[in-house]
Symmetry: C2
Amino acid sequence: MTRKELIHQIKKKKSFLCVGLDTDIKKIPTHLLDYEDPVFEFNKAVIDATKDLCVAYKPNIAFYEVLGSKGWDTLKKTIDYIPKDIFTIADAKRGDIGNTSKMYAQTFFETYSFDSVTVAPYMGKDSVLPFLEFSGKWVILLAATSNKGGDDFQYQKLEGGNLLFEKVLQKSLDWGDSENLMYVVGATRPEVLKSVRKIAPGSFLLVPGVGAQGGSLEDVCAFGLTPEVGLLINSSRGVIYSGGNSLDFATKITESALEIQQEMEKILLEKGIINA
Amino acid sequence: MTRKELIHQIKKKKSFLCVGLDTDIKKIPTHLLDYEDPVFEFNKAVIDATKDLCVAYKPNIAFYEVLGSKGWDTLKKTIDYIPKDIFTIADAKRGDIGNTSKMYAQTFFETYSFDSVTVAPYMGKDSVLPFLEFSGKWVILLAATSNKGGDDFQYQKLEGGNLLFEKVLQKSLDWGDSENLMYVVGATRPEVLKSVRKIAPGSFLLVPGVGAQGGSLEDVCAFGLTPEVGLLINSSRGVIYSGGNSLDFATKITESALEIQQEMEKILLEKGIINA
């Protein structure tokens, strides 16, 4: 999916919500365990319940990998079930030397047809480029993550005054551009979004950490929103487990997603990005 | 496998060779393509040909992932086929927020029974700890990798004078110890091993980049070898593809591994780590 199409979808749906499919078989409604593939049944219900309210889905690959080869079949069915006008993110945090990164890129872009994959920057340029060489696909590079451990290295001050995550942004802008490169920036540190926007004013940011991890949508938008939106806000647990163990869990999931979408619509209207 | 057992195996086999199972279906002898699972047939042949000459196997997970769920079945068969007294490394370079890292740890330590997994440090302490909580298992943390892109961030100088990879070593030594934490340090920069040994004198290092990537075994040992060995030297392409497309490719693989083992034996003898 191109940047233009993504922005079109956001304006059409009045939403920049990404729903994280961190589906844990131990947390889904127990009546689904009677199905042959309970994780897929759950994902299907989540997708049906939210597809008009979100513009992206982000399966967290760890949750599928842990189930062995069956988990990868479930992932395949899930990605095939997602409507084609919704952006898909393999949250895989891969990255390795060139010939290996190329294999990871083939995995997510060809074997599984994702639009994008999250990539860790530690191994540098030649670990990221192989992903960027796939036309029409996106890299979402880790910049400043939402977890406490993000402090350990991402906020280390370099000689010259930059923090490490700022250096990651600066360097990587030579590798790709706002048409094929986004960044992960956690919602738990809205002030960081300000310095991200100085370096990467036009890039889309994937922002996890709203909801369960404590970040606020309003704060994130105050610092991160651009005239072309530039944000995908991810919610995983806050949406997909909102229905608990009830039989009509899907109704509650729609309500949770709708609540976020409405807040987003209000912000998009206020900023004049969409019209009433 | 414990550190003690690993050192015992090294002394017994007079080898600290790790064979990388970066098995690419496009590069294996064509006569194997007639089998139902050509990649497994190849791995089996490699293991049979090298198991007395190496102390570790390192499947590169990307090469299995790219084949979809079948690739994970092949990985499972491969790991089950490796003799139990040989150390196994999932070269996966994972790392994510705590609950996700825990899933990745379960994947490689429980679903697939590996002894160790390679982990990327960018997300910090809480992304690494979940792996270290598995008793008897190991984290192999990326420190200074062998690729050119390693320069981009790992060699950034921090305020205070350390390079980033040195900070990774220093901080992580509070998270684990030489009984459950190793580091990836590329062979292509032997001088780096010197500064690694100042910070982590007793830790095992997994050293890729000997052979195909240009590093020399002698140089690596000069700077990295300790009285308790402290090195696992990986060779992937240089061993597993040495037999080309011939019917008796396995004979050539044994010869390639033997050549490295003999060089290692010589070094271990010279340093008085083993006796003649």
